[in-house]
Symmetry: C2
Subunit: 308 residues, 2 copies
Amino acid sequence: MSVPELFLGIDIGGNHVKMGFVDSGGTLHDFQSYPTAEWRATGNFTQRLVETIAFKLINHKDVKKVGIGLPGTITKDRKIPIEITAIPELNGVPLWAILTDALPHIKFFLENDANAAALGELYYGMPPHPDDFVFITLGTGIGSAAIMHRKLFIGGDGNGMELGHIVSRNHKKLEQNTGKQGVLDLGAELLAKWTGPTVIARDQPISATRMVVAAEHGDEFSRSVFYQIGEMIGEGIVACVRILDIKEIIIGGGLSASFDYVMPGIMNICQFYLTPYYLQKLTIKKATLGNDAGLLGAASLCHQETNH
Amino acid sequence: MSVPELFLGIDIGGNHVKMGFVDSGGTLHDFQSYPTAEWRATGNFTQRLVETIAFKLINHKDVKKVGIGLPGTITKDRKIPIEITAIPELNGVPLWAILTDALPHIKFFLENDANAAALGELYYGMPPHPDDFVFITLGTGIGSAAIMHRKLFIGGDGNGMELGHIVSRNHKKLEQNTGKQGVLDLGAELLAKWTGPTVIARDQPISATRMVVAAEHGDEFSRSVFYQIGEMIGEGIVACVRILDIKEIIIGGGLSASFDYVMPGIMNICQFYLTPYYLQKLTIKKATLGNDAGLLGAASLCHQETNH
């Protein structure tokens, strides 16, 4: 495009609603964060959202598009949140219609937050940007999304790529085993059996961050925890690769600091279950967008032709 | 379309190459089967295929489209087989170009056989035909395919939906656990521990067909084998449903005679791992095309606008 556009990105999360303007180069301006709980406490979260957007846009008459990432499922036409566990009063609210009625000169794009983050990686992440990739966020839960032929893959009814909810080991969902709690549970279980030396204290609650730092310093116990977590993430990646035939995997999220220590387990599983057709092209790398991935992702929704 | 068209369908398998003309109502005419081994023994499988097609078409000048199902992977442009385990001399052969050069007035459509069978179910199966469904064939291996928005879903690089190759229990692939050999292995393992009555003989090799018949007659041992097989198939279905957000599952293939006995295990797993968003619409039913599914599927490829 010849004239650089400015988009408003909004990342609605369980703890904060983050807003900021994003230019075509992916630079964030006028960042602001609002406590989700305060908006919920007013009894009208949607109204607070509309008002804050209107206020933000007063000084930005040039902004014509607003992208919003939501932490949950959404109707196939991308107009109505279905199940937003963290903010259930949004469930079934005709959010797109309310926003468009209130601000008719603005084009709104609603999307699941993991999908938005994947699109953000495509538009604002570090090149090269493959046409097809699976994006996985490791954090409290496991989020995932896929870009196929440079477009968001949303599946049949609009809410595909719930990788964290496929079946994993021990009759648990993948995100129960490999999310933050899964790391802590496995850490505690293995520590009780660990007989070698480790810098992890046995008389204190385990911390995931502490284990990442310990792994960096060569702690064998911490590395063995992340190795097993990696194997389970690897099993999820095999499912994605086999079902979607996408061979580029990008890993982001808070727990992606453990990337170097989950990778051996991931690769062991991939090499065991995948054939040369997949392995020759298989690339697993770390996401390039950091803390602002959610917000940049929300803004990147505005690059789409239509709101699906 | 106003003028009914006749298509030539060709189902290339490890044992037989099956050919037949299929009319717009899905009725098969002039069926013929050729032993794959004999064609391979000539040293030029491709040439035998071209000649047989040419011969078939002499008396059918009205046929302008030929659909071919192949038992393996294929390039994204649907022109060159990549890995056909049963007929490896086809790997890398520019099959579409050879066929089109030899018979330039004919439009050829090549496709993976499980994909073709799914498309056959869409065009010739018993209505209602949902716009989105996952098709699973239970047999020696596990084949699968997905129809999304009434089109074949082929994934990023063209060979998605290899459900039989995702990770299943005990460090095995799903098709190792739930294909014919998996049924026999689990049957033998459980029989050794089974203390109750059963009509299955303990001093003879187990037969999958025998167990299906026994299950029909209420044999608790056989039912418990299929229940566990069903649970593992169910785990694969959960992966498909969560990744693709498709809620209609159609099950075909030789082992689908066990449908009624794998269903309780499948449903147990689905109800445990899926939320109401999925379960409200989840439908699992038996394929309606029988023995001719492969051939009808191959012919149904001709309904597509282009060969991808």
